[in-house]
Amino acid sequence: MTSLINLVLNDKRTITLDTSKNIKPEKPKGYLVNTPFYKVPVEYFGDLAKDTYGIVKGWRGQANDHALGKQNDVGLKLGAAAIAAYLLTFRQAKLPKIMEIVGATTFLSSMALWPKLAIALPLKARTGVDIQQKYVDSYGRKKYFYMDSQYLPWDLYSKEQINKMGQKMKVPLDVPNRDEVIREKARKLSVQGNTLWMATAGFATPIMTALVCNALEPVIEKAKQNYDLKKTQKVMDSLNLNNSNTASSKAAKEFDALIESHIGQRFETNKELIEKLNLGKYRTALFPEKLNTDLDRILSNVNNDINKEYVSRIYDTMIEPLSKAGIEKKELEEAFKSMNLYGKQKDVVSKFKAIKPSSTAEDLRSVTKEILDKLVTEKVTGKKGKAIKALITNEQIDNVINLHNRKIIDEDIATQLKKVFKEMSNYFRREEALKNWENARFGNNADSMAAYSWKRVSNEIFSAMGINGKELDILKNEGPASKKLFEQKVEKLVQNPEKYKKVISKIAKKIAEFDTVNNEASRTQYRNYVDTLCDLSQNGLSKLGFTSTANYIGGRNKIFDETGLLLNEREALSGSIRNYKKVVRDFNVLGERASLYRLIQTLDLYKRINDGTFEAEYKEICSALSDQMKYRKPNYKDLVKLSKQVMMSAGPGAHEVKHNLKGRYMTYKTLTRLLFGAMPDKFVINNVIMNMTSDKNERAIISAAAEKSGLKGAYEAALELGFDKVKLNKYRTGLAEETLQSLYEASIQKVERNGKAVDLVENIKTYMQTFIDKVSNYRAKLNPRMLLEEHDVSGAMKGLPDRMSPTLKAKLVGSTTEELIRKGAQEAANRLKWLKVFGISGGVLLVGTVLATFFFGHLPLKEMYMKDENKR
């Protein structure tokens, strides 16, 4: 039997088909898709690539319906990416930028996940039917199995699989045509589930996106923070500060080209060079100025030689203003020629000859002026002459002289400038790395660790204090109501020692977290980085003759010696980048800590007032007052009121006012001593430490130690003798015992977790001491003209104890407690409100959707047992 068939086509052509090969229908190649979860990303990108290829096919006009439909998926992703990219440009800080991308991704995945999680999953668990099941058809197109309920390719399911579904759906075994019934149930389920999907997705997708992003934000924030800390440290470590970059960048090439093009010529101004040397980065306003000074020195020489060139330069400079004033160019040319400056005409030449090589710029100026004057008076008279005379200003003449003084760029200068460029770009490269390092830790920006701790601390305090949503609504506003409420809350809190300790621990933990990164070691490290950076650039630039820039970076008259810096360090470093960087770091860290310390102190004040220790201290201080001062001691009630007011709402300005207490006067210093704890050293030694023992020997040891090294010595001696540390510190710091205990615990916990010790008590004590020395020192005068760098805030206040800059004061005072609470409450209240509305609606929607699935797939028994052919 032949298997060949001849087909005759319309155009009379014939085609021969071999039927032995083609006669049977092809076997279906479709299959169900069951991707394990770890392969989902691979599958995702595979599908995306396929769908994208669909666009290419569509562009050629060859796509089918399936490919055209899938193009939408690609378009949607493209659109989401475009939107995220655009919104990204509005965000300054890194975290919101990341969140834009996370938002777009979450939106797309929410769209896919909602029907899977809320509808398909419960249905599958209950009935074994996965209404989100995908399959690949014989042509390789991936589709949802249940998408079109009137076309379900059941042959892809094996009999066992269908049976399994039936078992789960509890279809009786004796039902005639049981498979049909199971399929009908599955179909019904899918139609119902898909309808539920359409009904809920509109609400669910945006809410799910928002809630997921909300939940993800702190996690991403933490991860980003850790990443930044590690990454910046790595960059600093790998950045070999001693090894200079070969500067083969585009900017370097451009600069080299600029220099090469000027060999044999002059740079008439420094502008272009400064821009290039500064890499367009005007981070500090002084850089261009200093570079200008140096460039002037390098590129100019005093050239008082009056020669042909000089005269032609006068001509070049003056020709434009003069011709504007009405003298024709030709006329001017002739005038210059007729003056015959190089010829024998006596007057001008003799003047020139009088100028010696050592003549000053002043001489040169006067001669130039004379030349120009002569020119005008000889050639132009009358009104015109006067107008022209007015044009010949000193400025014009200076221009001529300056230009005359510019050096011609030779190979040496070119090499020198190229080296300077390398040095400068190295400086900026190192500085960039350092900037990133500090930004991740204490920088004054939204991405720093300080900013993140700050954001979270208020939320934790509110939850620890048991402040609810309604109270937050009051606290978020300015005014007496919120102030009163917070006071009430604090007063209630201090009556419960356990709760109080919990709150203090929360704050302390945040400080400790901040301190593990921004501690003394990191301060030293940072200072070393700054020193290395500045030394390298200073040395490099000095060698190249750029001394002004070098000294601006590293400080004037910087002389190193092995034992340390010279005595005039403060003066020498003043105004330098080196010092600025160091001080700004200290101030930033101080300011961030001070606000949190102040919160602790406010709570501590209420605690001490509550347990009576504040009154006891008040009495002790009063008894220690001299007879002269005793009659001035304040009323206790007034003092309490004032103290609360100071801690709650006194800003730097209010601290300037020396508080007056209703006719009875008490020095502000005494008040702040009470508030900021630390009592006079002598008082603590004599009345506190000495009183803790009656043993004569012990007292002798302590007093000897005190004589030797003051309070610190006495304290250490007492510790060695086994005195109670908390009690000792209580008097050293003036903080309540509970506060101290919480601080210790937080310090210890940090030690356990990170292996780095943070002594919070010591830190807070140092801060208080600084506060007393500076802010509450009535001799300390504010000096607004004082520069930042005139202070060393390291704790030991060397030099100028009686002066401070307003910045230091503001940093020491920190944010007022009121403001801190208000801002925190605002954020917390907004967040809570939002979460309440959308969290609840999201929850209700989810529960409702899942519950709804329980009513799906119902098929009456009667219908199951019907033998009707139309049953399906």
């Binding site: 086509l9 997708t205 907004n830």
Partner: protein
């Protein structure tokens, strides 16, 4: 006539009442459809509808009302006749609701915020809400940017609607009166005939385009009137024997190309819409005072608002293009904004050019049947 259709107000009554009237000759024309003047028999088969506002309104109404009533009711009951068309039509619901929910997310609770936060949040929320609206507007309108020029140049109207009459699967328990009632209620428009209406566009499927609907079946008319027009417009020649066979592959290709361009460009235009919505100048609209505080007449107030809105729109467009206003320029925004606009414009323009290009005319002006045969045999699945 089912109860539902009476409730949702579809003009079924008119269609039925017009059943006994004389059918005018132009009712048979594929370019003319008047639902009030068709015979009952016509409701039994699919019918091409004119692409005009009236039809669009009817279709939109039919789809909206069914999405809110009949289709979900059928879907939740697991009805046999709940098909893919109904599922897709219901897709409109999450789209609209999602937009509203997004707006609510950004604006729903701002009024509870502390004054300063509320102001900032309102401004941001307003921008995002506008962004959501512009997303939808830009997405749907931008499809016209491609389909209109293509229709003008080639005569192929990609959006040409037709009414499909679907035969419903009979109910197994028709004898059960309660079940029957329920089924009647849920199954759609014309229960008597056991059929339902669906509204599609003739070329929505490129694999199975409804080219059959374009034949003129009226007596004494040219059967290939439509295809002659397409052939003439696109240079296939006049007086062709089988103009339909000649142009069908061409139509398919044009539609595929144009739809590809639409599918991509619409999302880029939508992104442009969002970018436009978040521009600063729109925030002026937040502070528009209610009329009672302005002392203006209704007309004057409306004029005032229109003017402010128009100005805000123009300034926002400028701001989007320049990356900011009043000297506050964000270079990155400018760059990204311009890139998105350029991409959207490029996909649209090149999409149109690509679609109207006629590859069949390049080499062979007189195509034979074999050409068609070979071409249609070439069409592979994916």
């Amino acid at each position: 006539m089912s109860k539902i259709s009476a409730i949702i107000g579809f003009k079924q009554n008119k269609i039925s009442s017009g059943a006994n009237q004389d059918v005018t000759s132009n009712a048979n024309s594929p370019y003319y459809f008047d639902p009030t003047r068709v015979s009952k028999d016509e409701l039994k088969e699919s019918k091409l509808l004119p692409n005009n506002l009236k039809t669009k309104w009817e279709i939109a109404k039919h789809k909206c009302l069914n999405t809110l009533s009949v289709y979900p009711a059928k879907g939740f009951a697991g009805d046999k006749n709940s098909n893919f068309y109904e599922f897709l039509t219901m897709g409109m619901f999450p789209y609209v609701m999602g937009s509203l929910t997004f707006m609510a997310l950004f604006n729903g609770v701002t009024k509870y915020f502390a004054p300063r936060c509320a102001d900032a949040a309102k401004k941001y929320g307003f921008g995002m809400a506008l962004g959501v609206i512009f997303y939808g507007l830009a997405k749907s309108l931008s499809r016209k940017l491609i389909s209109t020029p293509v229709a003008i140049k080639t005569g192929i109207d990609m959006d040409r609607p037709y009414r499909k009459v679907v035969d419903l699967i009979p109910n197994p328990s028709q004898n059960d009166s309660t079940q029957n009632k329920k089924e009647k209620l849920l199954s759609g428009m014309n229960k008597e005939d056991n059929t339902a209406f669906e509204y599609h566009t003739a070329f929505e499927s490129v694999d199975f385009p409804r080219t059959d609907l374009f034949y003129n079946r009226a007596k004494g008319k040219k059967r290939n009137e439509y295809y002659d027009m397409i052939a003439q417009k696109n240079g296939f020649g006049t007086n062709l024997n089988d103009s339909d066979q000649e142009v069908k592959p061409f139509i398919k290709e044009v539609v595929t190309k144009a739809r590809t361009a639409q599918n991509i460009s619409q999302y880029l235009w939508a992104a442009t819409g969002v970018a436009l919505g978040v521009q600063e100048p729109w925030s002026r609209l937040i502070n528009i005072k209610p009329r009672k505080y302005t002392g203006l007449s209704i007309w004057g107030y409306a004029k005032d608002i229109t003017k402010t809105t128009g100005k805000a729109f123009i300034d926002s467009c400028k701001s989007l293009f320049n990356g900011g206003t009043d000297g506050v320029i964000n270079k990155k925004s400018r760059y990204v904004g311009r890139t998105i606009i350029a991409l959207a414009a490029a996909t649209t323009i090149f999409g149109i050019l690509n679609a109207i290009r006629n590859p069949y005319m390049k080499n062979n002006k007189n195509m034979s049947d074999s050409k068609i045969f070979n071409d249609s045999s070439k069409v592979k699945e994916d």
